[in-house]
Symmetry: C2
Subunit: 301 residues, 2 copies
């Protein structure tokens, strides 16, 4: 399976529109010390012809144009064969509404994520303009199922500690299907890609999936629990925002360091010190064999 | 008043994600013959310190970063003092949901446009997380009112031939306030900027506003009525999509050619031949004293 990182930042991107923190200022300076990053999305393909996007960021248009294999071959065409949503966060779903030019879409999501985006959302009518504009394929947790029709890739949804997206909070009770990770398996090579871009904390199913993976993209949102509080930029701890901090003995970096495959952090918040080349936190990750994704990173398994 | 074009394309941008028409292919080649364009938005300011965006495109994040005066001066800050919506089209409104990082916003819109975006839209809850997150200022048609608190700029909404956004079609009857143009007046210089980026056809109020303007940004979506049909890319005529075609004796270009101020086309669809430098249509516009906006264009009145 071929993988291309379309976006590697958490919601808001790097720099974030209303943020003048040290990282955002550095990113705007263009020195390369903090590389600008768009909001998280991955493109994957078994054959280089049919591509699947894991999450659909608000910046989808620029992300598609940044990677020529995703652009049309004909007057009306797209090599994008499917879109997979791992939760209902706007930075993962809003881009769907930018794919509205009367083009049939196939979207993979749990029933909970599908309902959260389509119910009570009048904007979604823009994707209901003709019969078959969106074909939803239900992801059932822990069940391996085909991704696309070629038989070359399968995906398995893994229920992952998380929460409802902010805009659905208090509207209904959370469900284990509100937030998933994915295991993508290449049927020919047998290689496994794990994708856990939103992880509130450890779980046995998560640990199993990561242990078996040849490469994992993992939630790199925050380094410390009180990152936003310490910078005076917010009042909530990482865990309240459903993100497992990287640092410390109980942090996700320590968990990842114990894994055998390639480990790559993604969904990185603009405040995270790992964005800064040469920072102590970045060097600690490097020493632990953990990479920090940037937009445009490619790998093949 | 200072003006910066943040985006000059119609919905979908140039190139459009699923389009391989001649213009989109040329834009992807990067030859400069067809310049890439993001979706329509203008930034305006009287003093260069407080800025107002006319329409908020899905590409707002990149558009803000493309123009340093719109970026923060402090850890949490934005020079963007207000956002103005001229209709409920997603390419004009969707970007509001990308400005959700707990930042107070002031949004100017008619009551009809406000209700169309906030009612029945569960995603809008992301902008209702604290008291005062969004302050709506109602635009009443044909009434000059202050833009911001400085007294330096006023705006007047002009009811303009148009329609409901696609996702609201058939949900309610259209209202004259569903689509407006704007006249921005600089209180010191007395200069007037007219902004009519969506115009379904002529009207007396529109003609009056444009006649009095020192510069006008005008709907440049399509050259011909059957542009999409002739290219095999769509089934609807320009008028059915509420856009007055530019070409022909009854076209908007002939109307604009008769005006005294600076005339600039914006909201240009990816299929429009005026995007191509040196095309017959582009030369006809030049001969008539009509400009074609590109991203990054600046002017001062």
């Amino acid at each position: 399976v071929k993988v291309r990182v379309l976006g590697s930042a958490a919601g808001g991107g790097v720099p974030q529109w209303n943020c003048g923190c040290e990282n955002c200022r550095e990113a705007r300076r263009g020195t390369g010390v903090v590389r600008p990053r768009t909001q998280e999305s991955l493109a994957i393909s078994a054959d280089g012809a049919a591509w699947f996007l894991l999450n659909v960021s608000p910046e989808i248009r620029a992300q598609i144009e940044s990677f020529p294999p995703l652009t049309p071959r004909e007057p009306r065409h797209s090599p994008i064969a499917g879109l997979v949503l791992t939760n209902g966060d706007l930075d993962h779903c809003l881009g769907l509404l930018s794919l509205r030019e009367s083009h049939p879409l196939t979207v993979y999501a749990t029933e909970s994520v599908r309902a959260g985006f389509t119910a009570g959302n009048v904007l979604y009518r823009t994707l209901e303009r003709f019969e078959g504009q969106v074909t939803w394929r239900t992801l059932a947790v822990e069940r391996e199922q085909p991704l696309g029709d070629s038989g070359l890739l399968t995906i398995t949804a893994i229920a992952t500690p998380g929460n409802l997206p902010l805009h659905l909070k208090s509207l209904r009770a959370p469900s284990p299907e509100d937030n998933i990770g994915l295991v993508v398996r290449d049927a020919r090579s047998g290689k496994r890609l794990a994708y856990f871009s939103g992880v509130a904390g450890p779980s046995p199913a998560l640990a199993r999936a990561v242990a078996e993976a040849d490469a994992v993209f993992f939630d790199g949102t925050f380094w410390t629990s009180d990152e936003l509080i310490a910078l005076g930029l917010g009042t909530r701890r990482a865990e309240e925002m459903s993100h497992w901090p990287l640092g410390g003995p109980e942090g996700s970096a320590a968990f990842l360091a114990r894994q055998r495959g390639r480990k790559i952090l993604i969904h990185i918040n603009n405040t995270n010190p790992i964005l800064r080349e040469g920072s102590a936190e970045r060097r600690a990750l490097e020493a632990a064999g953990i990479e920090v994704a940037a937009d445009g990173l490619e790998l093949a398994l």
